[in-house]
């Protein structure tokens, strides 16, 4: 069991996807239920991993449930997967959000079979990134995740709207958004791939723990690649290649403009997964690869990264406040919130091994989890309204609270979690990041408070223009209360938001141990 646990988690969705394709395409109901049930399998096994994690035996590098089988022997790549507290947290988030997103997609009528199959494939791609301990394997999963998401946006995205590019050349909004998402990530991946290849050539293997150990034992002046360059130079170049790839994905300002487009145009469940999990891949990359592989370079570049993170916090909040489109407002809120993750990572990179660094890392990872919950919840709730009134324009809404009191209450609750209200999850992680970053980058942290203030402004704008004020009757005939299925999607998220806000110890304990281990591995 211990041996095959991660493999089951990882490939159960893919197998389910293939099986989905065997169901006749007109059995929509069956397809939906099958996809939902199938997506519960990785969740159940993720919970098994969660509960047996403490007692499971670890390999010398601290990873548990490790499998290491030769895969691409010719170039030294192997199927090496393993789990530590960081990946456990992320796997839990992914396997939790996937069934909820599938449940949220029950309203999809168009090509249901293909949709569900893509969704399940996507889950494997994301899980693979979190579980891989082999650089090439990691890269394969990193890229695989793009393809289903591209099609989800491109084919099932919002049907309305066109964007003019230049000289009167127009494309559909969802085409534009999906291209931008794809190209942007690919552009970042190029450097990443080159850097990974370089490591592969130098070490004749892609094994991450091995490379980390060897790489950091080398002196900066050592020549590699047959005297072509030195370790120091190669590290400096590869550091930026890795960093840019991950920064694009998080996204860090100013590489963020693909995000509002992709999130806004994606179907509701796509946005939930994009915001909930895909953004975390970038942040995860910093923690799993950049910090262990390039500690000195990260230390040197931390100030720049922290500055960009602060820019993301501030400008993300401002841009969200300037929106009339509810979904785009929520999309920009991700830029704002993920800025805190990167700020925490940057502070830790600068002060690695210190108390501040551990606190900042704890905050960053917890913020990844928390943002996964609240952003997915927010996108879902915007989708609930969109499904009914087919607009996202806040100016066409208003005064809906008396008509949809349950929905209103749920929206306010989720918004408050997103705002970082104490008692709900977001506060603790933001507080820990601020606490950790304050001792390292006081000026950036203080400036970030402007963003925190405007977080309040945009969240309240969203609430007040949809729920409060006099009733806007434009679309009101189509409005109806949130239904049971939709409540089933949001309730688990709300429970977790409250639970983590009041008693985060169960999760933070795992994260804390992982972050201490991560730093001690760097030394």
């Amino acid at each position: 069991m211990e041996k095959s646990l991660l493999t089951i988690i990882l490939f159960a969705p893919s197998i389910a996807a293939l099986l989905t394709l065997l169901i006749p395409k007109d059995y929509k109901k069956l397809i939906r239920i099958w996809a939902l049930v199938a997506s519960l399998v990785p969740l159940i096994f993720a919970l098994v991993a969660w509960f047996s994690f403490e007692g499971a035996g670890a390999d010398p590098n601290g990873y548990k449930f490790v499998v290491n089988q030769p895969w691409y022997q010719a170039i030294g790549s192997s199927y090496h997967v393993g789990m530590d507290g960081l990946s456990l947290t992320m796997v839990l988030l992914t396997t939790l959000l996937a069934p909820l997103a599938i449940l949220a997609s029950f309203g999809i009528e168009d090509r249901v079979r293909m949709y569900m199959a893509l969704f399940l494939f996507l889950e494997t791609g994301m899980l693979g990134v979190f579980l891989s301990l082999d650089l090439l394997l990691f890269f394969v999963f990193w890229e695989i995740g793009l393809v289903p998401m591209y099609f989800l946006i491109n084919q099932w995205g919002s049907p309305k709207g066109e964007k003019e590019l230049w000289n009167g050349m127009k494309v559909a909004n969802r085409t534009y958004a999906s291209f931008k998402f794809m190209i942007y990530t690919m552009a970042g991946s190029l450097g990443l791939l080159l850097a990974i290849q370089m490591l592969g050539v130098v070490f004749q293997t892609f094994d991450l723990p091995y490379i980390v150990g060897q790489w950091n034992a080398m002196a900066p002046g050592d020549e590699i690649l047959g005297g072509f360059t030195t370790v120091g130079t190669a590290k400096a170049v590869a550091f930026w290649a890795f960093t840019i790839a991950f920064a694009l994905k998080v996204p860090v300002w100013p590489f963020h403009t693909w995000l509002p487009d992709a999130h806004t145009e994606a179907p509701t469940a796509g946005s939930m997964i994009l915001a909930g999990v895909l953004l975390k891949l970038g942040a995860f990359g910093f923690l799993r690869f950049v910090l262990p592989l390039y500690p000195e370079q990260a230390k040197a570049g931390a100030n720049i990264l922290a500055g960009l993170a602060t820019a993301a916090i501030i400008f993300g909040a401002f841009a969200a406040f300037g929106q009339k489109d509810f979904k785009r407002l929520v999309a920009y809120s991700s830029v704002n919130h993920m800025g805190f993750v990167v700020l925490g990572v940057a502070a830790a990179a600068r002060a690695i091994g210190s108390e501040s660094a551990t606190v900042a890392l704890n905050g960053a990872v917890l913020q990844m989890f928390n943002h996964g919950l609240s952003a997915a919840g927010m996108f879902f709730l915007v989708g609930v309204v969109y499904d009914r009134i087919h607009t996202r324009d806040l100016e066409e809404m208003g005064g809906y609270f008396p008509l949809v009191p349950v929905y209103g209450g749920v929206l306010i609750f989720t918004s408050m979690a997103s705002l970082g209200l104490p008692g709900l999850n977001g506060f603790i992680s933001e507080f820990l990041v601020v606490r950790g970053a304050w001792g390292v980058f006081p000026v950036w942290t203080a400036l970030g408070m402007i963003g925190l203030l405007f977080t309040g402004a945009y969240i309240l704008k969203g609430i007040s223009e949809s729920l409060h004020g006099p009733l806007n009757e434009t679309h009101v005939v189509h409005l109806s209360e949130i239904n049971k299925r939709e409540l089933a999607v949001i309730t688990p998220l709300m429970v977790l938001m409250l639970w983590l806000g009041v008693w985060p110890g169960w999760l933070l304990d795992v994260i804390d141990k992982a972050m201490i281990a991560l730093q001690s591995a760097i030394g």
Partner: protein, 727 residues
């Protein structure tokens, strides 16, 4: 002891449970909701009284407070602990909080028209408009029950939970959690009638304005945590070495010590929360909420929390104080507090809305407390916090009762253009609403500091006496403000209750029921009686019968080095306090005893154009709108979104795409087509690939390839340049 420690954890729980039970299960039953809500408040009240009296009876409570803690956040292999604690300050705080909260809950049942029929066309989100009933064969309109009756008790329960958590917290983080929960509740309750655009604006204004303070406070908390490694009150505030270290370490900002910087950051939180100048603008607008909420915000909870926090952090604020020289945070408090006290009092002079006058008086009185703490008068500040909570809750609930009575008149005449909150529409209510009148009079006199009998006199007198001893500036500013306070309070009482009714509605006003007047009477007793616990021993005559219990009880809650004996008696501040209180009251009555309408307000003649400034609150709202709100909207939408993201960043991306698109065209036209297609393709029978190419081009418009090419060029180029330069 064990029992007490457990009981302390249970104090905040009932209102929280009430919130969840009402929201999840009882939201359709008005009866169940109020019973759960009031029952929860009663439980917390009883528990608080038990804890309070045990605290009073305990020896050396200051050194050995009640309380316990538990592990909360696993951090760095250890745990961040949170706990609850009852020391003298917390004991006093739960005393006044529990009583006022309980009274407000009871009052709310009546205020929201429990027992009245459902309104004819009431909808959730707007105040009830009245219901038509047929009695004895003819129709008339009676008040109707609040359509969101259940929701109100849920929200106000959560509010009470926030305040109990805040005053019982044994560390700054837990205090902040209670602080923010109250921020949410005041947001929800100020905007309780969210259907009104004015309420919607007010709820956002309250939340954002206080959040300005909150983010500074959060920085202060982070700074304190970073520099001491803990946030526990005992570990920081009662450890002289820690405070010494904080006071002697340079923070690197503006030449302040770490203690000074932390103190100022935390104090900015109070400026927001307790509506001090210049963040006072939200509090008057908070009147948009139902009146019990106003009492909750102005007396029992929200704004009191701000002052409570600085009182709690006083040892830190005072760290580094030598020979009576004020530290920078204390200096800031003294200055801002006294300015606020005077400034808000002047605005109150020119307000005609019965609740707005009270709102500005709250700002002004909070200024007293802040200023008192700034000059080191710890006990006096706390004393005034408590007496103010009692008499201000009384005044707000009283004004709600007045409004209710007036609404009765409005329903009777059916003329909905008459504003039931405008004091110039009232007059002569003394005979219509005797219980409301007498209790309001007591509250008003306590606010004015009517000598000897009212609680407000003793606490205000103590502040003035301290100010006289420590700072002439503060003393004179506060004395003038006290005079204005007495004057506008008497103006309010005279216009509302005395003289003759100015409108038909006032003639038909009606005393409210016991749900509402009952709490008024209880609070009236406290607005008088609570003063007696703090009569200085040196006070002529009465002092012989007093042991100044409050001073000893509270004072011993401070660390040794801060404890000071009660001041020696001094005649001058006492006389000043008598003169301003009685003079203000007398003048207020004399000026306003028969003013017929707002146009003939005598102050208008005296103050001239300045009166218009006062009426418009010195145009702060307009100025902030012009300086901050409009620019923020413009900056967000036009600069950050449209210019930065759309024009610059996306513009650059599109430029790259366009250039590569053009490059791709060249490749196609001058390489693909002539070389590949014609030369190779035609000779190899290229019809099939050509067809594929056409199809693909339709879908992709060539963008992917071109993007890829450019990205590769940029990546390789950058790598190349880097490799060369680094070697």
């Amino acid at each position: 002891m064990e029992m007490t420690n457990l009981l302390i954890w249970l104090l905040p729980v009932p209102p929280l449970l009430a919130f969840f039970i009402i929201v999840l299960f009882a939201n359709r039953s008005n009866k169940a909701s109020w019973m759960i809500g009031v029952g929860a408040a009663a439980l917390s009240f009883l528990g608080s009284m038990v804890v309070f009296f045990q605290a009073v009876g305990a020896e050396h409570l200051g050194e050995h407070p009640f309380g316990s803690r538990l592990d909360w956040l696993p951090l760095n292999g250890a745990h961040f602990q949170i706990g609850l604690m009852v020391d003298p300050l917390s004991a006093i705080a739960i005393f006044f909080v529990a009583i006022t909260v309980f009274m407000i809950f009871i009052y709310s049942v009546g205020y929201h028209n429990w027992g009245q029929p459902k309104g004819d066309d009431d909808i959730p989100g707007l105040p009830p408009h009245g219901a038509t009933v047929v009695e004895h064969g003819h129709e008339h309109v009676v008040p109707s029950i609040e359509p969101m009756f259940a929701r109100f008790f849920a929200f106000i329960g959560l509010f009470a939970f926030g305040m109990f958590t805040l005053v019982l917290a044994d560390n700054l983080l837990l205090l902040f959690i209670g602080w923010e929960i109250m921020g949410l509740c005041s947001y929800l309750l100020i905007g309780f009638w969210y259907g009104k655009p004015s309420a919607r604006a007010a709820m956002i204004k309250a939340f954002i304005t206080t959040r300005v303070g909150d983010v500074f406070m959060l920085l202060g908390i982070a700074l304190l945590y970073t520099s001491t490694g803990t946030l526990s009150f005992r570990a920081i505030l009662f450890d002289e070495q820690v405070l010494q270290a904080l006071a002697s370490t340079d923070s690197g900002f503006f030449g302040l010590s770490v203690a000074g910087l932390t103190g100022i950051l935390l104090f900015i939180g109070t400026i927001g929360k307790s509506a001090q100048f210049p963040l006072h603008v939200w509090l008057p607008d908070a009147m948009e909420g139902p009146t019990p909420v106003s009492a909750m915000i102005h007396a029992a909870a929200m704004v009191s929390a701000g002052v409570y926090m600085v009182i709690r952090m006083f040892p830190l604020m005072a760290a580094g104080m030598e020979h009576g020289h004020l530290t920078p945070p204390m200096y800031a408090m003294a200055l801002i507090g006294s300015v606020t006290a005077l400034f808000a009092a002047t605005i109150a002079l020119a307000q005609n809305d019965v609740k707005r006058v009270l709102a500005y008086s709250t700002i002004s009185q909070l200024g007293y407390m802040v200023a008192a703490l700034g000059i080191g008068a710890y006990v006096a500040a706390t004393f005034h916090l408590v007496t103010h909570a009692f008499f201000k809750a009384l005044l707000f609930l009283g004004s709600g009762s007045v409004i209710h009575g007036m609404e009765h008149g409005v329903l009777h005449t059916g003329d909905h253009h008459v504003d039931p909150q405008n004091m110039y529409n009232m007059g002569g209510l003394k005979d219509k609403m005797p219980r409301t009148f007498w209790t309001f009079l007591i509250g008003g006199f306590a606010l004015s500091g009517f000598p000897v009998v009212t609680a407000g006199f003793w606490s205000k007198d103590e502040i003035l006496a301290d100010a006289w001893a420590h700072s002439q500036f503060v003393f004179w500013v506060l004395a003038i403000a006290a005079f204005l306070t007495a004057f506008y309070t008497m103006r309010q009482i005279t216009l509302t209750f005395l003289g003759k009714p100015r409108t038909k509605e006032a003639e038909h006003a009606h005393e409210t029921n016991l749900w509402m007047t009952g709490p008024l009477m209880v609070l009236a007793v406290l607005a008088i009686g609570f003063g007696w616990v703090g009569i200085p021993e040196s006070f002529p005559g009465l002092g012989n019968y007093s042991n100044n219990w409050l001073h000893h009880f509270l004072g011993h809650g401070l660390p040794e080095w801060l404890y000071t004996e009660a001041l020696e008696f001094s005649w001058f501040p006492l006389i000043a306090s008598l003169v301003v209180a009685l003079g203000g009251l007398g003048l207020g009555y004399a000026v306003y005893k028969d003013v017929p309408s707002a146009e003939e307000d005598p102050l208008k003649k005296v103050l001239g154009g300045f009166h218009t400034w006062l009426e418009n609150k010195y145009y702060f709202d307009e100025a902030y709108d012009f300086l901050f709100i409009q620019p923020a909207k413009w900056f967000s939408e036009k600069v950050v979104f449209q210019l930065m993201d759309r024009k610059l960043i996306d513009g650059f991306l599109h430029l790259v795409a366009r250039v590569t698109y053009w490059l791709g065209g060249i490749f196609r036209n001058y390489f693909d087509i002539p070389v590949v297609n014609r030369l190779i393709g035609d000779t190899l029978g290229g019809a099939v690939p050509q067809w594929f190419g056409k199809q693909l081009r339709k879908v992709q418009t060539g963008a992917i390839q071109t993007y890829m090419i450019l990205a590769m060029v940029v990546a390789f180029g950058g790598l190349f340049v880097f490799m060369i330069t680094m070697r």
